[in-house]
Amino acid sequence: MSRLITAIEIDGAGGHPGAWRGPDVDPGAILTGSLALRAVQRAEAAGIDIATFADTLEAPADEAGAVSVRLDALGLAARIAPATSRIGLLPTITVTHTEPFHVQASVATLDYVSSGRGGWVADVSTSAEAAAVIGRREPAPAADLWREARYVVDVSRRLWDSWDDDAIIRDAPTGRFVDRDRLHYVNFESPTFNIKGPSIVPRPPQGHPVVAVRVNTPEALEAAADAELVLLSATAGVEEQLAVLRAAGSPLVLVSVAVLLDEDLKAAERRAAGGSFDYVGGVEGLAELVREFQAAGVDGVHFRPASLELDVPVIAEKLLPLLQVTAADRPGTTLRNRLGLTRPANRYAEGAAR
């Protein structure tokens, strides 16, 4: 069986709405980013491959008892980049009301500041709330928005390719900083937007930062065919969806599980009240569940911990050793290397001789 890929979700103080109220949790650290930073550093030290960062364009719902603030995921991931060295950083970025040109430039920049550990979880905004805070488009059906998202992913990759890797020549005799024949207009046209290019950012360290899609609807399942990494909901038909994704050529599929860990089952159930989880219990049981997913053919697991402060240390120190995941056996310096993905050739570059 191939090496298990592991990922962890960063969302406020954790996936449980009341996680911020937990003992030893400093809720103010959600806003400074230090709660997220500590969780990602713990995950990195334990050998976890990827941190994903939850986000929506609109603010979280103003619900009693829950965290009603959220930092921009891209900014948070960039803040964490210099304070980590091996873990991949994938903020959620929505594409429905945002500018594709900015999105690709930001992800390319994240790849630079993390020395090749950048990527993103592409998402759409279907809500009326998201449409209202921007005020330019009416809410649209998910199928339409995911269709557009595929164009955004496509143009992002084209813009990352709009600079050849060797476009910067610094040729003093001719006075040229770049060879403009190695910069390319993408002239991209889609039903909802057009982009001329080239990108403002040189080709990022990984060539293409890693594109992930979270699948929890049939529309997203279809769009996930373009992603290199799929986060598949654990709640329904993992095997069927996996078959669809494999047929579409998805390279890496992780099953995404909301988890709350405590060896004391009564205590675990008390903590779980008010939340929604795929697994509540001790680490042995979760390890068993992960092995079942692995046997079903998934490439790895995306943990969504109930509490960053309580559950991440348990995942890091107790669960991962059971799964034989260690920090030592991860190859490569970039996220693509680590995941066994090749660095893509540039579609515009002519010949390999240069």
Partner: protein
């Protein structure tokens, strides 16, 4: 009363001020370069680090301009990363108000403000051209006349979102289970350019709200700055022009109910320091020659003449033609308001000194603002501030990333000795460094 000087470090830009052919020049895109300059600025107890923005690669005669540095990162992402490796330095992002929406700007900049503990600034710029618009959903949708209307409305709404929470709304009451006061952050706005409503998801940062910087120089731009900016990033670095600009802008503040201290004027300046004044003059000349190669001299002249001058020899005389007004021979950078006057001045100078086209460009266009020994530069900078030609400076180095090392090591100690510049940070927020109230 002795004024305190404010200083900012500008990351070298994509124009010919930046010398890339020097052996000391390093990557314009690797994070290590940003870290180096930010560390230098923080060692020098600067107020802030400043990043410009690009949304389309510049073109000359329909082709990508290849003689200057090309390519840069997205500002807010780099600055969020710099927040991790700095502790006090302000972090200023240039972000366009034409091709971004207020809600997203407010959220992203407020995020940087929180992640840095209250050190974020937004330099509000506008564009209107269809050239830049070709990279965006709406294309070139905005009239030139409308760009400040949209910018002003955009800034007003961004501020409204930043102000949509009071300092008391974040409760963090773990016992009672109340994170924030219910209903906080709600907003709605209708204007000529925007119609939005919803809830803003971030409370005030330790500095209240991010600092706002503005760079416009037209009458409209100055009014915009006087109505709402905390800092003006001006282009009037010379003493006389600086004083005129300073008075003009500060005089506009009263009608907006603002004090003179509430707006800091910081011109972009270049500095050349050497052991003696004579050596500095020689070094400055050498840098200008590096900045203006023969092909660059032609391109800079084309920017003023508005026509193709590629048939001219940069080492020969100035072109004899008249300028073309409103030409688009160069795209993606600011043009000149009165090219005929500049050309007249250039011709007179060239004739008087026997200069070639390249020599004329070198001498007329790229002269550094402060040239001299550390002592001379410190004295001159202080004079500009004390005599109201500026409140401080945005220093634009010609080398990436070590271009301010000399200044910080040699001039900053002298400014500190004179008691006109801090020796250590008194506070932790950018507003505190700038002496601004929220």
């Amino acid at each position: 009363m002795t004024k305190q000087i404010h200083l900012a470090a500008h990351f070298p830009g994509v124009n010919n001020t930046t010398v890339w052919a020097d052996p000391e020049s390093r990557s314009q895109i690797d994070f290590a370069s940003f870290k180096h300059l930010a560390a230098t600025a923080e060692r020098g107890t600067f107020d802030f680090f400043f990043l410009a923005e690009g949304l389309r690669l510049r073109e000359v005669k329909g082709r990508i301009h290849d003689l200057d540095v090309v390519g840069r990162p997205e500002s807010l992402t780099v600055l969020s990363a710099l927040a991790a490796v700095t502790t006090h330095l302000g972090l200023a992002a240039t972000v366009n108000s034409t091709f971004n929406e207020p809600y997203e700007l407010a959220k992203r900049i407020a995020t940087l403000d929180h992640l840095s503990g209250g050190r974020a600034a937004w330099n509000v710029v506008t564009s209107w051209d269809a050239f830049t618009g070709e990279n965006f959903r709406r294309g070139g949708y905005l009239d030139k006349a409308d760009r400040y209307v949209r910018a002003q409305e955009s800034l007003r709404i961004v501020r409204k979102l930043w102000d949509s929470w009071t300092d008391d709304d974040l409760l963090l009451d773990q016992e009672a289970g109340v994170f924030a006061r219910e209903g906080t952050g709600a907003f709605a706005d209708e204007g000529a350019h925007f119609g939005i409503h919803g809830r803003f998801g971030l409370p005030p940062s330790p500095q209240g709200r991010p600092v706002v910087i503005q760079a416009g120089d037209s009458d409209q731009g100055r009014d915009f700055a006087a109505s709402g900016a905390d800092v003006i990033f001006s282009r009037h670095g010379s003493f006389a022009a600086g004083q005129t600009f300073y008075k003009d802008v500060k005089d506009r503040l009263a009608k907006h109910g603002r004090t003179e201290e509430s707006l800091k004027i910081m011109p972009a300046v270049t500095v050349v320091v050497a052991d003696t004044d004579a050596e500095a003059v020689e070094k400055a000349r050498h840098i200008r020659e590096q900045q203006v190669s023969g092909p660059t001299a032609i391109v800079l002249a084309e920017l003023i003449w508005g026509r193709d001058l590629s048939a001219y020899d940069p080492d020969g005389p100035l072109p004899t033609e008249d300028p073309v007004i409103g030409s688009n021979v160069t795209q993606g950078r600011a043009g000149f308001n009165d090219p005929a006057a500049i050309i007249k001045e250039w011709r007179e100078a060239a004739e008087a000194n026997g200069w070639s086209l390249r020599q004329t460009v070198i001498n007329q266009q790229n002269r550094q603002t402060f040239i001299g020994s550390p002592e001379t530069v410190a004295t001159e900078m202080n004079r500009h501030v004390q005599e109201n030609a500026a409140d401080g400076f945005v220093l634009v180095p010609h080398l990436t990333p070590g271009g301010l090392d000399d200044f910080v090591d040699r001039v900053v100690p002298l400014l500190r000795e004179r008691g006109v510049f801090r020796s250590e940070y008194a506070g932790t927020t950018l507003r505190s460094h700038l002496g601004l109230t929220p």
